[in-house]
Symmetry: C2
DNA sequence: GAACCTTACGCAAACGTTTGCGTGTGGAAA
DNA sequence: TTTCCACACGCAAACGTTTGCGTAAGGTTC
């Protein structure tokens, strides 16, 4: 089995020094035209490619961005990655993706692994466990070693760094407002437990919208779900015979599940009950009825996050010292799960 | 801004040599207990982590697996990645993911980039364009440089390497058989154009099943779709007033779209028409009615692919010389889009 | 006191690059 | 013939590790 050809091998073959080969390939004027051509022909013949590892070591940078997300099998996160890749590739960066699987430990391991030489900086959405545990030492350690971090979506207020988020509360408020504006008055919310930052913020937005309409908040219209993967029974019980005319779900799965159980309970959507979800994923789009939802513009988030990071990586110290929080606009996508 | 601490810095600080530090951290008996403890304490204090890049260079391996897939925002591929990650992490490998976006050029670029030092081996599902173009030089070049490649799902028969696939034809046959066994006789198929290997194989399986039941193949029951992203109108036209009692769709989107347009055309599913899809994704599961489908067991594919690759990477030359093709079983998941 | 053995450490090479600077060769100018 | 200058190339260091081997210092044995 052949191995990759190196400068050294070319040098030996052509009976010149390594540096001559290196310079020739870079078209240095120091090297005679003749030698340059010979070297280049040889290099092409043997398909020479500089060894990135050696370059990384020498340049003390890898030209690689590390992305760590809580789940890889998740439409929203993959769209964000898509955005990151777009910018990164444009600017000559490689993207390396790890999933923490929502585990704090795995997040730490992944971050440390990538931080010890594999990536120059990070784009990160923290694991549930991390939010619960409130242990951010790994992130702060990474930054203190000179590697910039951009947090997105599931961020941490206490950590000072660049951030890309949507205004979750505002998005939720928009959704709730829309329901109110089409005449709904009894709006239930399907949300997550409070330690999930985005869930809590969306709940707040919902409450704010109600207050603005002078509608009292009712405990019995709020369901905080812990186990996302087994939410159907819980949602079904919650919704059964409840006197409501709308449901706001803080994510796609809750919205679809609500639609399903309501259908089973004999309710018509949107005639009896309107539904709005959050996250414009594949489910919302293809479900029957298609779901009105709040789009988070995942790709945009990825694009902005990547830009922030690359600015930090390539910027001078002035840029390096200031931290920015970019808020991506959400938008309401009206489909068929809400009345006109 | 601090930089990462190196052996050299520790050595200088403690006034010993670099090799002493290195050996001390490895608990070498060559170094006195006293020094060892001192070094270790210091290393912990300054949070020393060996530089992976330097190690990669020295060891001539990166302990990283490169995964290149056609689309990142795709449920099936992400489940495969999940499987790869599982095995890789267990065995101390890092996973780096790139998407080719179904572009031949981007596939080549990604592969070359990763091949020049970032990964030891590859798990790869080729881009549509590559299948169409039949240009595999980049893959063969990579292998000829000593880096093993495992192809999965969208593979290339002409390239000799390890492969992980499902028996697409058999899966399609199972699906069609199921439709036949519940009494359907006029089964339409929604498939892709022939150059997509998996589409063609699934079509073949469909035809095989029909033949086994002595049902003549009818041209007008076969729709080959080129533009997956805008298939709705095409499918709608195709299905309108067609005399059929079942639809077999070679992917999830076709199945859901068929369900949607049939619903719109006033057909009841599964009473008037049964539908079976391919790929057990999030859509099939949550759609109403939930879709009967052929599961590809993406995670298993990822697991097997990763195992094959790591075997090659760590195996002696005996293992290295033989190539295996693993066929993952598909299974029929019966849901509500087919009659009992 | 000489010969020898441990102990505890340092040296240097290697992985594959890049690059500033030193140097030998040749030709041209004086 | 001598002096000088381009030209074309090689040397060596550096990036951060690991590791076989060399070697001082100190102790033991006769």
């Amino acid at each position: 089995m052949k191995r990759k050809v190196t400068l050294k091998q070319i040098a030996k073959e052509l009976d010149v020094s390594i540096s001559t080969v290196s310079k020739a390939l870079k078209d240095s004027a120091e090297i005679s035209l003749d030698t340059r051509q010979k070297v280049k022909a040889f290099a092409k013949l043997y398909n020479y490619k500089p060894n990135n590892i050696a370059l990384s070591l020498k340049n003390r940078k890898t030209k690689t961005i590390g992305v760590i997300i809580p789940e890889i099998v998740h439409h929203f996160f993959t769209t964000v990655i898509g955005g990151v890749e777009k910018v990164a590739n444009e600017k000559g960066y490689n993207v390396i993706i790890c999933s923490s699987n929502n585990s704090f430990d795995k997040e730490v391991i992944n971050l440390e692994m990538l931080a010890s030489g594999s990536a120059d900086g990070f784009i990160l959405s923290v694991a549930k466990e991390t939010q619960l545990k409130k242990d951010y030492h790994h992130i702060e350690e990474t930054m203190s070693q000179g590697m910039p971090v951009v947090l997105f979506d599931r961020i941490i207020d206490e950590v000072v760094c660049d951030k890309v988020i949507i205004d979750d509360a505002k998005g939720a408020q928009t959704a709730t407002n829309h329901l109110l504006s089409i005449g709904c008055k009894k709006i239930a919310i399907l949300t997550t437990v409070d330690y999930i930052s985005v869930g809590k913020l969306r709940t707040n937005g919902y409450l704010r919208a109600l207050r603005a309409y002078d509608i009292p908040e009712k405990e019995e219209l709020i369901l905080k779900i812990e186990d996302i993967d087994n939410c159907e029974a819980e949602i079904s019980d919650f919704l059964l015979d409840k006197d409501i005319d709308a449901v706001f779900a803080v994510n796609e799965l809750f919205a679809v599940t609500a639609a399903k159980v309501l259908d089973r309970q004999g309710k018509k959507i949107p005639d009896d009950i309107s539904i709005i979800g959050f996250t414009d994923g594949i489910l919302s789009k293809h479900f029957i009825p298609s779901l009105t939802t709040i789009s988070q513009h995942g790709e945009d988030m990825g694009i902005r996050a990547a830009k922030l990071l690359i600015d930090k990586l390539e910027g001078d110290d002035a840029v390096t010292e200031e931290y920015r929080t970019v808020i991506i606009d959400t938008s309401l996508i009206e489909r068929k799960s809400t009345k006109k």
